[in-house]
């Protein structure tokens, strides 16, 4: 278990003090894939670097399996870093070494003998699907292949935690998908706890179980991915969930139309056309003013704004009908959308 307690980090720059992290408290369970998402400059990279003490937090502590990492000596810290490895946006491979030698690198650092290290590195290259690239140099590989080598390198010392710092941000969507798949396999097969730092919603949706949203150094929301994204409460979360802007353009209210916000909180995605079915079943034709839903796994999250004619009675019927479908919350909204 990784516990971040009251973590703060400030930098002194030419323009004065910058607070990169402000009182961050998070608990990451063993074996889970935890996402930390935020816009650039939110402090994500600083946060992940505090976990392995590449950045020393100004205040607070990082506790991994009941050990306070910040209290360790440089020597102990170096040893524990073999247990908390990292992959990066820019891959950061040694460009003058072959892929095999890159994977050997952390083993060399740990003092393993050459032959043994080579054997282990070869196995790892097989794990990441690149056994044929052992003697190629990083410059000869594509971005996705480089990240695979970096993952093999990160696994070499058999870590318990893998930190991914924007590991897919330099990759195209298809490659991102394949790297995330690999990360999930590693998480399952080796039981490695994975912490993913990203600015991409899709990354979090695809692999993370829980997520924290970081905004200007503060954790503004935290929890199960589905519930956080379905019902973004903070402005930062809304910006991430609706990157095109949350300003839903809705026509002026007309006549006695009432407005209902329908929140999908993980309803089963079915082929049943819910709103149409409602029109048939209860005879109320709702006007869909705006909708933003997405499927996470096989569940639907998001919300929809309906306009309903017919006064109190109709509103009650609609609420009743939709809420019966399960995992849907309906609330009436007044002018402020």
């Amino acid at each position: 278990m990784i516990e971040l307690k009251h973590l703060s980090k400030s930098f002194v720059t030419a323009d004065g003090k910058v607070e990169a992290l402000k009182d961050v408290n998070l608990t990451i369970r063993n074996g889970e894939i935890y996402g930390i998402i935020g816009m650039s400059g939110a402090g994500k990279s600083t946060l992940v670097r505090c976990i392995n003490m590449l950045e020393r937090p100004t205040e607070g502590s990082v506790i991994i399996d009941d050990r306070d990492i910040g209290a360790l000596s440089e020597n102990e810290l170096r040893r524990i870093r073999r247990n908390i490895t990292m992959i990066f946006q820019g891959f950061n491979l040694l460009m003058q070494r072959t892929c095999l030698k890159n994977v050997c690198f952390p083993l060399e650092l740990a003092g393993m003998n050459r032959a043994e290290a080579k054997k282990k590195a070869m196995e790892l290259l097989e794990t990441v699907g690149l056994p044929d690239k052992a003697n190629s140099y990083p410059a000869q590989l594509s971005g996705g292949q480089k990240q695979r080598v970096a993952i093999a390198r990160a696994l070499a010392t058999e870590p318990e935690v893998l930190l991914c710092d924007e590991a897919t941000s330099a990759l195209d969507p298809k490659t991102t998908h394949s790297i995330l798949k690999l990360i999930r396999e590693i998480n399952r097969n080796f039981g490695i706890t994975v912490i993913i730092i990203t600015h991409q919603m899709s990354v979090i949706e695809e692999v993370c179980e829980r997520v924290a949203i970081l905004d200007e150094g503060v954790v503004v929301e935290e929890g199960e991915v589905g519930s956080v994204f379905a019902n973004p409460r903070s402005a930062a979360a809304r910006r991430l969930v609706f990157p095109e802007g949350n300003e839903i353009i809705v026509p002026e209210e007309s006549g006695d139309e009432r407005r209902l916000r329908v929140v999908f909180n993980g309803a089963e995605a079915t082929t049943k056309p819910l709103i149409t079915q409602m029109a048939v079943d209860v005879g109320i034709a709702a006007n869909i003013l705006s909708a933003s839903t997405r499927c996470i796994g096989d569940k639907v999250f998001g919300n929809m704004l309906l306009g309903v004619d017919g006064g109190e009675e109709a509103v009650a019927k609609v609420c009743d009908y939709l809420q019966k479908a399960g995992e849907i919350v309906v609330e009436e909204v007044k002018n402020d959308v």
Partner: protein, 234 residues
């Protein structure tokens, strides 16, 4: 001034010198240059590493005092003109070699003049390295010494070779200059015959040979640097 430099008589005068003295002079110039460069690298490489690693954001931050002394000493040695430096280190040369005159003796001042230059070149090579790679090594638990030996130096090899090529051609120039006050090689011949005895033809030939040597060193160095750079492998 150069009237008759290329006349038949001049060539006749020059022939015995060209045949008898030049082969040895070329050899002396080459080995003095290579040996001096080697020693300059032996001293300059660790110092250059220290200049980068000892920086306050480096992998092995050293006290500010140590760093400024190091910087001042290097700048001081770099600012003394080579000929003056050669005279200044005469006592040291005598101590090490036993004499201040001759080909071997000129190695001492050449090394003293060149190692601070090499240290600066090494510094600039190492600073080119992507700091993220160093951070990655730190994240894997590398010690400062491991980072220097396994990351900073090996990753900078192509750039170091390019810079050492610059060093060797500069040292070749210095070695020729050392001919004025007792050094051996092509410089000595150019000065003794060409300048003191007005046999300009000899001087020109010596200069041409120096140019050829620079060309050889430079092209070998360039090729080696490119060959060693695994980033250029396709």
């Amino acid at each position: 001034m150069f009237d008759g430099t290329f006349s038949f008589e001049a060539l006749q005068d020059a022939m015995p010198i060209l045949l008898n003295e030049f082969p040895l002079a070329v050899w002396e110039t080459v080995y003095v240059t290579i040996l001096s460069t080697a020693f300059a690298i032996i001293i300059g490489l660790p110092l250059g590493v220290l200049l980068v690693a000892g920086d306050k954001n480096g992998v092995l931050p050293l006290p500010r005092g140590v760093m400024s002394v190091l910087g001042v000493v290097i700048n001081l040695l770099r600012s003394v003109p080579f000929l003056i430096l050669m005279i200044l280190v005469f006592p040291l040369t005598r101590l090490i070699v036993g004499t201040t005159v001759g080909t071997v003796a000129s190695i001492v001042p050449l090394v003293i003049a060149a190692f601070p230059f090499v240290a600066r070149l090494v510094e600039s090579s190492l600073r080119e390295l992507d700091p993220n790679i160093i951070e990655a090594a730190q994240s894997m638990g590398a010690s400062p010494f491991q980072i220097i030996m396994k990351v900073m130096i090996p990753e900078s090899v192509p750039s170091l070779i390019s810079n050492f090529t610059i060093a060797i051609t500069t040292i070749l120039g210095y070695s020729a200059m050392s001919g004025i006050i007792g050094g051996g090689g092509l410089g000595k011949i150019a000065i003794n015959y060409g300048y003191y005895r007005y046999q300009y033809l000899i001087m020109f030939v010596a200069v041409i040979l120096l140019i050829i040597l620079v060309q050889i060193f430079q092209s070998v160095g360039d090729r080696w640097a490119i060959h060693s750079d695994k980033r250029l492998k396709r």
